[in-house]
Symmetry: C2
Subunit: 334 residues, 2 copies
């Protein structure tokens, strides 16, 4: 059985380029006892992957050079020498950008989508959805009536975080990268306000929406957007640092900003780096709640699906241009 | 009745200078019903005062130009038209750098020193002690065996915070500004390790003491010391930002440092600005516990007392040179 895989050929400087990656064709090894061969159906491409590709390393072990880019995959068992999995079973793995892989039976788990489409296992019910859920519910913890700002609000994590805050009773302001996303956030995600940070009037628009300050800032982006929001922290504010997509590609902090420790001291505020792995043992609880909210019509989700394994690198690169609404996936095959 | 007072004449740029202040002699007004005249015995000088003198404003309202510098005072009631206070009562006020003041009876409270010397009401049992207590116990929350670093560990807040962490079972590393302070910290405060940040080997010495990373960093200083400590955060670390004395006088952040949000994200770490006013309703609990630890010989405290009201500005300025061991006070009169 043959497979294609996309490996990290060199560490990107700034925005990832095609030449930072290489596609290889390999022969998969024959199965040993307790192993399965999985054919990929959908791959995940996520901003955090960029963080792992650079130096210094991000959270967890850095992406190895010459190895397939790691990440979530939905696949189908094509061969099995396992008592756990039968041919045809649909499973979730984390073997990354490969069209197929031979894996120990414990390296995949059953897909649990509560009757929703299969792709949600990598999206609203996958690690991005669970991140938005726990990041907002457990770290952001908005009280009813509080003002919550979410950056990259129309992205995979942000869209969940924004709506969780709205469901918890907060007044939610989404920051996104286009007017179309802002319209979506207001009409479909039904949050109070949304604004395009590209607009020259963004700082003023934000200030106008936060007359009493920002109680919770769910930060997916860093950079200019976050500096602007940090200028409006209410006393006792909480900042959930969930992603820093603007920084991953080398944008540097503005030396004129009030230093963050001083700002937090002045505001009695908290900034917490959020890692979903800290809530790994509660992921099923999040998936069940998110699925229930979807069934009740309280939570909208979106997926942007790129078609074909060869599109993987372009899809990944498009994340940094904000091309996706909701979760970005690559469909590998049928 | 006449009084002298020290007012803020202009906003300091960098380190405060004598000419930023002016001493005035005023006639106190006659007492109205419900008022008391208080003669100052001891004044507090604290780093946070510098923060309130600059622009932009720090926490709470900024120090007004032309007004006495605000801060804690131990005084004695010299005249009373109050049913609450009798002449001779020793009270605690917050009217700042004045030799005497006429105040409403509700603007002072009884001194509560649990049999300890009167001056502790502004020190280990005053707001600096309560800050160190709650900042470490409620925000730092070290578990037994965890590694805790405290900057300005021999200062008023740091000395309490360091020992609270040691009493809670943590391994405490103090960072201070002289070898004498380090000796004190090891021999009297009985913490595991102490190091002088002036030494060229400070970063290496710190690294050697934190092989498993820093679980809690209690930050009183900011600047170079804090950047060094932040390079060693353990996963899930907590940073208590209690003061930023290095930043108050205009030291700017190092643009080459990993941005703080990114660092917190990589470490799943939390940085919280601590304001003791958030624990105002529990101050009596802190004072009782601190006094008990002192009686049991578990907690050492120190005071550095400058003699005479005319020494107030010099005493204040000396804070930024690290002249004090423990709490710095000014004795106003007998």
């Amino acid at each position: 059985m043959r497979a294609r895989r996309i490996v990290l050929a060199q560490r990107p400087v700034g925005l990832p380029r095609q030449e930072d990656f290489a596609t290889e064709v390999i022969d998969l090894p024959p199965l040993a006892d307790g192993q399965v061969a999985v054919e990929s159906l959908y791959l995940s491409v996520d901003p955090y992957m960029r963080n792992r590709m650079g130096a210094p390393a991000g959270p967890g072990p850095a992406q190895e050079l010459g190895a397939p880019v790691a990440g979530g995959v939905i696949g189908r068992v094509a061969e099995s020498r396992s008592d756990t999995w039968a041919v045809g079973d649909v499973v979730l793995g984390s073997y990354g950008w490969q069209t197929a892989a031979v894996l120990p039976e414990g390296a995949v788990r059953a897909v649990d989508v509560h009757g929703l489409p299969l792709t949600t296992a990598l999206g609203v019910l996958g690690s991005t959805g669970v991140t938005g859920y726990f990041g907002m519910r457990e770290v952001g913890r908005p009280a009813p009536g509080q003002t919550v700002v979410v950056s990259a609000a129309a992205g995979a994590v942000g869209l969940v975080a924004s709506q969780v805050a709205r469901i918890l009773g907060a007044r939610v302001i989404g920051v996104a990268g286009s007017e179309a996303k802002c319209l979506y956030l207001k009409s479909q995600a039904r949050i109070a306000s949304a604004m395009d940070y590209h607009g020259s009037g963004f700082p003023e628009a934000l200030a106008a929406q936060c007359p009493d300050g920002v109680d919770v800032y769910f930060d997916n982006v860093g950079g200019f957007v976050s500096r602007t929001v940090r200028g409006h922290l209410a006393m006792g504010a909480r900042i959930v640092v969930c992603g820093q997509i603007a920084e991953y590609n080398g944008e540097r902090p503005d030396a004129e900003e009030t230093p963050i420790p001083t700002l937090l001291l002045h505001r009695g505020a908290t900034m917490q780096g959020f890692m979903v792995m800290q809530y790994a043992d509660r992921a099923a609880e999040a998936r069940a709640q998110l699925a229930e909210w979807i069934r009740q019509g309280q939570l909208s989700y979106e997926e942007t699906i790129a078609d074909g394994f060869d599109q993987t690198v372009d899809a990944f690169r498009s994340l940094f241009a904000g091309a996706n609404l909701g979760k970005l996936l690559v469909r590998v095959g049928g």
